[in-house]
């Protein structure tokens, strides 16, 4: 394992120290491990709090700022945050209008956010939750923990964040978050495993010429292995899986996402194939994002996330956002 780190145990703290130094527009509390917008709480505005294991950067701390999150709770690498962090963040950003928790569907995240929400309720802070479960690689059945939350988390955080910024009440902000999740699907492919600092070696081994299909964002092995194909073939596997779960049509928001170790040039090649596939199926990549946004440490590979847009969702996606990881508009 070669990484730019000081010690396995200080990875998250050291990275938060760097985040604080690089972004004076954020307030990073190193003790409680919460990243805030410098001007949070905003009275009357619904607060947005998300969080999860570290190792997915820029998710979530990189999406704290105007038009998106009010606070993020980074856990240890691939380990959901603890209730204390979430309580701290939630009570701090509750501007009286309540707080939305955006939670990726993993047992650990769900349990820790649930415990925190109960504690917040005790303190009189109203909390609603959007559970993101967009990953079609996992069958949602009695026999699994349900579909995982992956790339669509970014869509939910951006769009719900925009609505909250407009002053919408908690119920509406939660409703649009749920709507985005319901309209979104993702599928990921790994060319290589990631290496967690704690394990010090790749979580799984892929031979030259092999890819792992249907991976999550924690270096979990996927559902199957396949021979490495061309960009076109790999994208088609992903798009066929998305299409099977949610027929593609009309204006679509697309994220071609790198897993952390994927060069941008390869992601653009993948995007060209996604765009072609959508057009073949009568859909349009009306809005798109290409880059490493919802990552898995140093994993090589990509995921595709799609969200079928409505006029309202398009308007909110286009609304201004100013965060370290996503920034546009006036």
């Amino acid at each position: 394992m070669k990484k730019i780190i000081n010690a396995v145990d200080t990875v998250v703290t050291d990275a938060l120290t760097g985040l604080a130094a690089a972004h004076p527009e954020l307030r990073v509390d190193l003790d409680t491990r919460v990243v805030y917008r410098a001007n949070a709480p905003r009275p009357g505005k619904v607060g947005l709090v998300s969080g999860g294991g570290s190792g997915h950067e820029p998710l979530h701390a990189g999406f704290v700022g105007y038009g998106m999150l009010d606070a993020a709770c980074p856990g240890e690498i691939f380990t959901s945050p603890v209730p204390d962090q979430i309580v701290e963040a939630t009570t701090a950003v509750g501007g009286g209008a309540g707080v939305l928790h955006i939670v990726k569907n993993y047992t650990g995240d769900v349990l820790n956010f649930e415990m925190a929400a109960e504690l917040c309720a005790d303190e009189g802070v109203e909390v609603a939750r959007v559970l993101v479960d967009d990953d079609v690689a996992v069958r949602d059945s009695l026999y699994t923990a349900g579909r995982r939350g992956t790339g669509a988390t970014l869509f939910v955080e951006k769009i719900a964040g925009a609505l909250a910024e407009e002053g919408a009440p908690l119920a509406e902000v939660a409703a649009i978050g749920n709507e985005v999740n319901a309209r979104s699907r993702s599928f990921g492919v790994a060319l290589s495993s990631c290496t967690t600092p704690a394990a010090g070696k790749p979580t799984f081994e892929l031979a030259e010429g092999e890819v792992e299909l249907g991976i999550g964002i924690h270096g979990e092995p996927g559902r199957s292995r396949a021979p490495a194909g061309t960009a076109r073939e790999l994208v088609r596997v992903a798009m066929d899986a998305l299409q099977a779960h949610l027929p593609l049509s009309g204006d679509t928001l697309v994220l071609v996402n790198g897993m952390g170790g994927t060069p941008l040039i390869e992601l653009y090649i993948a995007f060209a194939e996604v765009d072609a596939y959508l057009r073949e199926h009568g859909a349009t990549a009306a809005r798109s994002l290409v880059g490493n946004y919802v990552t898995s440490l140093d994993m090589q590979g990509f995921s595709v996330s799609v969200c079928t847009l409505t006029d309202e969702l398009t308007r909110l996606w286009d609304a201004p956002v100013r965060t370290p990881g996503l920034r546009w508009g006036p």
Binding site: T79, R139, A145, A199
Partner: protein, 210 residues
């Protein structure tokens, strides 16, 4: 058993978890996200600090402190689950300064029930529940049969170990391993193994000098 016995037990778990850290993480790498050993090791290190900062007054107090600290420091799935296990057990013990093996058995049974309620896992789902359930069952049986403390705890540890081993062929239906579907078969569940370590530590404490 007094408070010192319980803190001994906790120390022994801490040692075993530290010794098995890499092993637990490697098991989690196979069907999870390669952090179970690191998670528990971090949690129990924090427990040591918490115990010396505020030495508990009763066995129940010790277990509540242990559980609360795991909930607050571990994160992930195992943090709230193991935390709830110990915290509920501690609450059941109440504030008696001495507890009998039968009382401990009842407390752990309550802890297990709380874990099942929180995580909604059944036996056979390939989780910590597969080790904790037979362990609690064996402990209750041994106590009922009038077995001595050491023997009862050994029975519980053996049952947990066997339960953990029995997770190997299972297909996971809860937690991250469930994402793998059939590919989760053939691997030992890390949380089941750490549950067995917890029960083995209880036996070791009872075999020690105190």
């Amino acid at each position: 058993m007094n408070t010192a016995f319980i803190t001994d037990w906790i120390d022994e778990i801490t040692r075993l978890v530290a010794a098995e850290r890499e092993h637990l993480t490697a098991l989690d790498a196979a069907i999870g996200d390669a952090d179970h050993g690191a998670n528990l090791d971090r949690g129990f290190a924090a427990v040591r600090t918490a115990l010396s900062a505020r030495p508990p007054g009763t066995p129940g107090d010790a277990l509540v402190l242990l559980g609360g600290t795991l909930i607050r420091k571990v994160g992930g799935a195992s943090g709230p689950l193991f935390g709830t296990f110990f915290r509920q057990a501690g609450k059941t013990l109440g504030d008696s300064p001495e507890v009998s093996p039968a009382e401990l058995a009842a407390a752990l049974a309550d802890g297990l029930a709380a874990v099942r309620a929180l995580g909604s896992a059944e036996e056979g789902d390939k989780t910590m529940v597969d080790a904790l359930t037979p362990a609690v069952r064996a402990l209750e049986q041994a106590v009922q049969d009038g077995a001595g403390r050491r023997k009862a705890f050994d029975a519980a540890a053996r049952a947990a170990e066997e339960g953990a081993r029995a997770t190997v062929p299972l297909r996971a239906r809860k937690g991250r391993a469930s994402y793998l579907g059939e590919r989760s078969m053939g691997h030992l569940d890390p949380g089941a193994l750490s549950s067995a370590l917890i029960m083995r530590a209880l036996h070791i404490s009872a075999s020690g000098s105190r």
